[in-house]
């Protein structure tokens, strides 16, 4: 390698045996690496100290309401899809102090929560998750930038991974977000695992991405590697576990608040909020005031909330959305419909988490298909 950093657009091959050097290089650049690791029977995101923290040789089987880890026949590092966590937990933590106020004579003084200055490297960001990051960026940084989100977000290094396989609930192809990583990354990896070969094609997306490669042993890319990567992405794209027609979804949802399907899905929905917690773009939160016992100090906390909670819409002691059907309708109509009005994009990236982690296997793609069937017209003279 020359002294100059690899530039955006550069591509290299990284041998599997040099992956540790790659991690070290990222860490040496000052980043705290967070990425996939096996915990409690799932692949979740946590701190990566060494490559042995990665889910080497693991994959998962996903379906509506089902998730099981399984051993792979190989030693792939990124041979899984997505688990219950998403990157939002780092940028928008589930529980976070915003500020602290102390009494000061007749008045009070507010001190903002300082942000942790350590930049984060997200290792293994999938294409759908890059799309989700862009969406939460619009939410938290589109207007008045949220200080804690933007302080962390502007320092994140996105090490993306192109998916080598599709999960049982994946539908990123339908949502146009994957599986290929085409933009919005600092580095993009594709894991090549063929007989006798285990390596990564590395694409540099930004200067920040290139700079962490400076001390990593790299080889120039080969045509064969390029062809293999193209085939990998094509294979993943053709094996999506789910599909959903996104055409006209906004209008469909906004014009169907009375569709009978809402009542049907509400009979199954437990309002457990799992879908909103697992969703990489759901951003709703509430605030909590936590005073000290002597009432001299008080803290303002932010906590993930969900539109499935009855308290969420409470107005004058009464929830506006009291029925389960109205809450499911709100979630889906927002996610796939009014999100377009608010942020110029769908709120769904096709990651399938809401399907997998729903305890009663409600499937967003199935619900959308059902909502596309026009409700029966009222019978003239019938009913009431």
């Amino acid at each position: 390698m020359t002294a100059a950093s690899p530039a955006a657009g550069d591509r290299f091959l990284l041998d599997r045996r040099d992956f540790s050097a790659f991690l070290t290089s990222i860490r040496t650049a000052g980043y705290r690496i967070v990425g996939p690791t096996v915990r409690d029977g799932a692949i979740v995101y946590g701190d990566i100290q060494a490559e042995s923290d990665l889910p080497i040789g693991w994959t998962e089987r996903q379906d509506a309401g089902r998730y099981r880890l399984e051993r792979r026949s190989d030693q792939a590092l990124f041979g899984y899809v997505v688990g219950p966590h998403s990157w939002k937990k780092y940028l928008f933590p589930s529980h976070e102090r915003l500020w602290t106020a102390t009494r000061d004579g007749p008045t009070f003084a507010v001190i903002s929560e300082p942000s942790d200055p350590t930049p984060l490297a997200f290792l293994g960001v999938r294409a759908c998750e890059l799309a989700a990051l862009k969406i939460t960026d619009k939410v938290f940084m589109g207007g008045i930038p949220d200080p804690s989100y933007s302080a962390r977000r502007t320092r994140v290094l996105r090490v993306a991974v192109q998916c080598g396989q599709a999960g049982g609930t994946c539908f990123c192809v339908s949502m146009g977000t994957g599986p290929g990583v085409t933009s919005d990354y600092d580095l993009s990896l594709t894991e090549i695992l063929t007989e006798g070969r285990h390596e990564f094609l590395v694409a540099v997306g930004t200067e920040a991405g290139g700079s962490v490669l400076r001390s990593v042993p790299l080889r120039p890319p080969t045509d064969e590697a390029d062809r293999t990567v193209t085939a990998i992405v094509a294979h993943t794209a053709s094996s999506m576990g789910r599909s959903m027609d996104p055409t006209g979804l906004r209008d469909l949802l906004l014009s169907n608040p009375d569709h009978p399907r809402w009542e049907r899905v509400a009979k199954r929905c437990l309002s457990c909020t799992n879908c909103t917690m697992a969703c990489p773009t759901c951003f709703c939160h509430t605030t909590e005031e936590v005073p000290s016992l002597d009432a001299e100090k008080t803290e303002r906390w932010r906590r993930w909330d969900s539109c499935f909670n009855l308290e969420f819409t409470k107005l004058h002691a009464t929830p506006v959305r009291a029925s389960s059907s109205s809450r499911y309708r709100q979630w889906l109509t927002h996610k796939l419909g009014s999100w377009h009005d608010q942020f110029g994009t769908s709120g769904c990236v096709g990651c399938g988490r809401c399907i997998t982690w729903c305890p009663v296997a409600i499937d967003i793609t199935e619900e959308v298909a059902a909502l596309r069937v026009p409700p029966p017209a009222p019978t003239p003279g019938g009913g009431h």
């Binding site: 709703c284 005031e289 009005d341």
Partner: protein
């Protein structure tokens, strides 16, 4: 290498969602459960400029925040005025604050009444219950620029005579010849000689030129829905009717998700909406 990583920026000195310290200058009872608070900045500085119809987040130390409409004179830069119904933990705490005590204020937030669009037109203001306080700033505005507007008709309805806010001020307004201020209550005892009936029942008696009138409605949703329908029936187009919505609010800046009403964030896109924009959502249930 380290220089390639953006250096950590120091924590901002003040969080955009942190309240500024104000103190209670005055607190007066309007009705049995509703008080008007006059608040001024602790540091003696001016209050941020606000438009009629906007709201503040009021904060009680150690208790929490509530969204409350501004209800004072919008040109007064020395203080803010809020009329608050004691209806929950935070508003109850606000109601108990004596003069001198600290209150946190952040805001103003949201879109207010389109006073500029009212220029040269007849104006109808309809308020139900605690819908009068958010309309009072707009009335101050109209009266201080009286020549710019045509007729000004106000209809204010409350549950009973005891539930009327701004009682003395309404007496004064009713004496004015450049303003017609009707009051009606849902029910009354024999000490009341005014009208009894819904605010909507007064609409046939409101005077305006339908093609050149703007109407601002504030009150319970069902009242605004029926009032808008009846004003429409009298010839005011939907696009000239504006309503002020209320929803659960936490952040007031469109990121917490609580106040969504169809595609709108009530805190950011409202609370004042043009009726034709939100009419379908008002008609649907549990939006």
């Amino acid at each position: 290498m380290a220089s390639d990583v953006p250096s950590p920026s120091p924590a901002p000195s003040s969080h955009p969602l942190a309240p500024a310290p104000y103190f209670v200058r005055r607190q007066t009872a309007e009705t049995g459960d509703t008080n008007t608070l006059v608040l001024a900045p602790m540091d003696g500085g001016p209050v941020p400029p606000a438009l009629p119809g906007q709201f503040n987040m009021l904060y009680v130390f150690g208790v929490g925040e509530a969204a409350i409409s501004l209800s004072g004179d919008p040109t007064d830069s020395t203080q803010v005025v809020h009329t608050v119904r004691n209806a929950g933990r935070i508003t109850a705490a606000l109601a108990q604050l004596p003069p001198g005590k600290a209150v946190g204020v952040r805001g103003p937030y949201g879109r207010g009444w389109p006073v500029d669009a009212a220029a040269g037109r007849d104006v109808v203001l309809m308020a139900g219950g605690l819908g009068l306080p958010p309309l009072r700033p707009v009335l101050y505005h109209f009266l201080s620029h009286r020549a710019q507007y045509g007729r000004i008709e106000v209809v204010y309805g409350a549950r009973t005579p005891k539930d009327l806010v701004y009682y003395d001020q309404i007496q004064e307004w009713r004496q004015r010849s450049d303003l017609r201020f009707q009051v009606t209550v849902d029910a009354a005892d024999r000490s009341w000689y005014g009208d009894v009936g819904l605010v909507t029942a007064r609409i046939p008696d409101v005077r305006f030129e339908p093609g050149n009138t703007i109407a601002f409605l504030c009150g319970p949703e069902i009242m605004m829905k029926y009032a808008a329908r009846d004003l429409e029936a009298r010839g005011i187009p939907r696009s000239s009717i504006w309503i002020s919505m209320e929803r659960n609010m936490k952040c007031a800046v469109g990121i917490c998700g609580h106040c969504q009403f169809g595609p709108e964030f009530v805190c950011r896109d409202g609370p004042v909406f043009r009726y034709d924009v939100v009419r379908d959502w008002l008609a649907a249930r549990e939006i």
